[in-house]
Point group: C2
Chain length 393, copies 2
């Protein structure tokens, strides 16, 4: 028996990465593959404390249906936190979502007809590409350099492309490249989006994890017209297991997201939202973020140093000022998927970079995560990876 | 500034019901409108207990990312519980979703191209219609009677309709009608679906809340080909605030749901899944369901008795053997939306039935919930409602 699926399902396939990530669950594997935060930093005792208090104080309310928009006190606190990103917001601008991933799916649903064009950074976040694929768009990759998306290239593409519907960007410690956009490019992006009347989706799960320098204002902070949709997440600053993120947008635009949330799953978990809200009330999340940054920046330093010492010449990699990833470019003749196969035999994993290019190519690239492994494993893993690379040089 | 949305958004509008439900949050309102379970039955202390234990035992694992399919021990327990529905399943047949609502959204994504036909009961669950609408189908309503969908009508429609892609049914204590299908019709449905090679989506959030008589086997229990997709939920048997439901399907079909889950929001909340799993391990959910049934059946009895005593002649209503709703048919000249406006002035709310017919009409119908109000309020509310009806007779 073969059921008759929708056309869009032809494009939705199990990614090789998913299979790779399954292998990384073996305890002997040193994994630089996932985008997992360091679990040893999760504030388990504090979450235990707020879980108890929420059920004591809110009782049955914590277990009942709640509004689609989200738990009001949590929306208020997130609106306040948007100041960190240079954005003045009220709770009316905030929808609570199932991680920021859900905001990506909703973006596709709200903006994309089949065949519409999504402009994204080249490379871009795989999970966003997967989410958008359900709505059958065409991806057009905009070239990037160390300062983010190249604006001349964007302008050129906008001039010559029909049916562009959304510009999707990750301006802070981009996934997969670890790069951060300059302020000038952020402003220019907005100017171009305005000229072509396009929405910008600004995905920002990593911006708060800045190890050095000053956090640049978000693209949304320059938005006077309500065309930027900002996606935030607690997965990297607190923990991913609660599955809570948010969409911050102009009220009129946010209303579309709320309508779509209603049909998709009614609302985020009432109890999880109350727990998070209580956590933010009782504890200082920014203080907690400082602890995360201290650990991650040491891991990044050690990883970059080991790469410098061990990697053969001719390999370039980014030096991110925050976030979770570095991005390496191998000599053109080295296929990173083959390298990954070789590495996994030595119990080391990373994600081949080719998957982050929606239109293919760039098979000599790799995304390397430094947040999830301890320092000893980072050194051993990078050394083994260097051996594998040398064998393929 | 006006952004350019996808075509599907033309159909996705705020429902009047949503506005109505907002009014019902005023404490003075006696609401028969929502489909809310009785919060006084939520096992708050037990959930508090399992929340603590999960964080003590699983620690950071409860706060980390987990597999898209769901937490394995929970999937195993749900597979076991499928026996209640007459279904032999293993964890490989179970995906954990954000309530069964998310399974409906995924169904649309997986099966529906624009213009495809969804066959549903007339009337049908509003939330399913909303979920499917995102994928721009055409709804064809199949007439129903007290025994469920009328099979001769279904056969006739199948013979004469092109592009049918999905048959969506709620065979147990249907929302909104409260009706339950006979076993014969369940078998016949499967026979017809097989003849036309169609998937059946069997939505079953209420089946376990049977006050009398024996639970009929689910449609899925007769499925030898893997064409029935069964959607289950803990929202009505435990609590909705955790937002946990499941999809049970043949492995090949379930794989499509897992792929779509991955792109939509990666996974359900790790910690909530562990809490639920621990609850099922430590406590007897079926024992808890007995308590719910005892309360709801008394409320149903009282509501039906009060309706019998107070409603003017010429009003028909269903006498459900379980679930949350009864369904009333007013004389044709009474518009239930107008009645609802009148009732809310007297602080009584219900949902006008017209919204449950995707192609309109039937404005003389009403859905009345009996699970959420205590007995005193049921009597007062129904009396007031009767007064409003009399004024319109």
């Amino acid at each position: 028996m073969k059921l008759n699926y929708a056309e869009r399902m032809d494009k939705i396939k199990a990614s090789e990465i998913r299979e790779l990530l399954k292998l990384t669950q073996r305890p002997e594997v040193i994994s630089f593959a996932g985008g997992l935060p360091a679990p040893e930093l999760f504030p388990v005792e504090k979450i235990k404390e707020v879980s108890k208090e929420v059920l004591e104080e809110a009782g049955t309310k914590a277990l009942q249906y709640g509004p689609t928009e989200g738990y009001e006190p949590l929306r208020e606190k997130i609106a306040q936190r948007m100041k960190k990103f240079g954005v003045d917001a009220t709770k009316e601008n905030i929808l609570i979502t199932g991680g920021s991933q859900q905001g990506l799916d909703f973006t596709g649903k709200i903006f994309l007809n089949k065949g519409d064009v999504v402009l994204c950074e080249s490379p871009s976040y795989l999970g966003a590409l997967s989410a958008f694929k359900s709505y059958q768009p065409v991806f057009k990759e905009v070239p990037t350099d160390d300062d983010g998306m190249v604006m001349e290239e964007l302008e050129d593409i906008l001039k010559n492309t029909e049916n562009v519907k959304v510009i999707y960007v990750i301006p802070d410690f981009q996934n997969p490249s670890g790069r951060t956009w300059t302020v000038e490019r952020r402003k220019k992006l907005l100017e171009l989006a305005s000229k072509y009347n396009l929405p910008i989706v600004e995905d920002n799960p990593y911006g708060e994890l800045r190890f050095e320098g000053k956090m640049p204002p978000s693209v949304k902070s320059f938005d006077t017209e309500g065309r930027v949709i900002f996606l935030g997440s607690f997965s990297k600053t607190l923990c991913p297991g609660l599955r809570l993120g948010w969409t911050c947008a102009d009220e009129k635009v946010l209303n579309k997201y709320i309508l779509v949330k209603q049909g998709s799953d009614l609302q985020a978990s009432t109890i999880s939202q109350m727990q998070l809200s209580k956590f933010l009330e009782k504890y200082d999340l920014d203080e907690h973020i400082e602890k995360i940054k201290a650990v991650y920046s040491k891991r990044r330093d050690l990883m970059l140093k080991t790469m410098k010492d061990e990697f053969p010449e001719g390999i370039k990699y980014t030096k991110p000022e925050g976030g979770l990833f570095t991005w390496a470019i191998l000599p053109e003749h080295i296929n990173a998927r083959k390298l990954a196969e070789k590495a996994i035999e030595k119990n080391v994993a990373f994600v081949p970079g080719g998957s982050f290019f929606p239109n293919g190519g760039n098979e000599n690239t790799m995304r390397i995560n430094y947040s999830n492994m301890d320092e000893e494993k980072i050194v051993i893993g990078i050394k083994k990876l260097a051996e594998c690379i040398k064998e393929m040089m």
